[in-house]
């Protein structure tokens, strides 16, 4: 893997998706890139969709 893994944050509730950790509870293995998260996936805390996430600086 050449690119570094990133973090994405839900702008509605603040929940963070960390590509390094993935989200095993939601079936996303560690290392799963944001672009590979299914498009109908919802924020586990507040339920908004992927479009309400943005990349954050680490």
């Amino acid at each position: 893997m050449s690119q570094t893994l990133k973090k994405w944050q839900c702008i509605v509730c603040g929940w963070i998706y960390d590509e390094t950790e993935g989200c095993p509870e939601e079936g996303l293995a560690p290392g799963t890139r944001w672009e590979d998260v299914p498009s109908d996936w919802l924020c586990p805390d507040c339920g908004v969709g992927k479009e309400d996430f943005e990349m954050i600086e680490i």
Partner: protein, 389 residues
């Protein structure tokens, strides 16, 4: 056996509190009570549902039974708490009383009803059940001489919910008229120039703006409604939606003698004026702030879960910008704290505006960004003080 932790309300505040609490404590019995059907849903999604073609069932993430199983709790649906007896550590549901060890009030806020003849003919949307009713009625087409067409919807109120709905429904092909006594959209969040920037974005979607005018009466006419404005003009529509604001549900708390101002008052530990009684979400006024958004309630849920599990934790609020869901003109706002004095400094070219609210010494107190300027959010966030340090 010790009395359970009782939570009134299964909105984002109630469910997220219990979810966070369960991460720390898997044992303590919990009873949640709600006057609605207890389905878990994301309230912010209610104002983007038409464009996405979502029914209420599509927006429901889990029903009460599934939530009860997942969280290991009991959930009572379609039941309303009628009184709080904080001295006895009991709540009342009609004839029944339930004892609690600790009580959490997460009752949300109710749509404001204005004393206007015919107000009852208007819909309002503040939860999934309201959305179900409104969405179902709105999706039925109407027949006319020109054939089947989508309904004409009158939206009353140009605040966050009114503007988002007007945008959402117009985006989904409905004819929308937005009526409000406000002179420009989102006046409680935006300086005038930024509010004006949103107007062409709405009209180009087909929204008819009737700003600066109040509805004075509504009447039923055939299958639709007729609204009369304060200038005497008459608007006909198939349905009307009231979005004139929300008022925190404080009645039960007030009747029980808990301190209430704008909301149920709680301290930094989220405790009300009564022992073992806490509040969060839209019904709560946290250290003087009653913020009707998800980010504050998530911060409260995390802190309160710790406190309830024995690890006393004070609430702190970071910078919490609000995104307005008007995708044809993105808007992000970080409102200044109530009562602070300062001045708007606006730069850019409409509709791409950067408005900074700065105090006497030039310190940033709040901002509003529209269009391409939303990209400056991160930089401005760094300059802002936290909402509650």
């Amino acid at each position: 056996m010790a009395a359970p932790l009782v939570v009134i309300g299964t909105g984002l505040a109630g469910y997220n509190l219990v979810k966070e609490f369960r991460k720390l404590d898997a044992q303590t019995p919990i009873i949640m009570i709600t006057s609605d059907d207890g389905r878990q849903y994301s309230k912010p999604m209610l104002s983007t549902g038409f464009t996405k073609g979502k029914s209420a069932d599509d927006l429901a993430m889990a029903d009460a039974g599934k939530m009860a199983d997942t969280l290991g709790i009991e959930i009572r649906t379609h039941q309303s708490v009628t009184a709080l007896h904080t001295d006895a550590h009991e709540i009342q549901l009609g004839e029944e009383t339930i004892a609690y060890s600790q009580l959490v009030l997460a009752m949300g806020a109710a749509p404001i009803e204005i004393p206007l003849s015919g107000f009852e003919h208007l819909y309002h949307i503040n939860d999934l059940m309201d959305y179900a009713r409104f969405n179902q009625a709105a999706m039925a087409t109407v027949a006319s001489q020109v054939g089947q067409h989508k309904k004409r919807i009158l939206v009353m109120g140009a605040g966050l919910v009114g503007c988002e709905y007007a945008h959402d429904m117009a985006g989904a092909g409905f004819e929308v008229i937005l009526v409000s006594p406000d002179a420009y959209p989102l006046p409680r969040l935006l300086p005038e120039e930024c509010g004006h920037a949103l107007m062409p974005a709405l009209t180009s979607l087909g929204v008819e703006l009737r700003l600066g005018h109040a509805v004075v009466s509504v009447e039923k006419k055939g299958d639709g409604i007729v609204a009369v404005l304060d200038d005497g003009s008459v608007l006909e529509a198939d349905m009307g939606l009231s979005a004139v604001g929300l008022s925190p549900r404080t009645d039960l708390a007030k009747a029980a003698g808990l301190a209430c101002e704008r909301g149920i008052q709680v301290d930094r530990m989220l405790q009300t004026s009564a022992q073992d009684v806490y509040a969060l979400g839209d019904c709560a006024e946290v250290a003087g702030l009653n913020l009707l958004y998800v980010l504050p309630l998530m911060n409260c849920a995390r802190a309160l879960a710790k406190t309830l599990s024995g690890q006393a934790t004070e609430i702190r609020y970071p910078v919490m910008p609000v995104q307005v869901k008007t995708p044809s003109l993105p808007i992000v706002v970080s409102p200044a704290a109530n009562g602070v004095t300062g001045q708007w400094q606006i730069s850019g070219q409409s509709p791409n505006l950067k408005a900074e609210f700065r105090g006497e010494s030039g310190n940033l107190l709040g901002y509003a960004l529209t269009g391409e300027c939303v990209a400056e959010k991160m930089a401005l966030n760094k300059e802002l003080p936290p909402m509650l340090a």
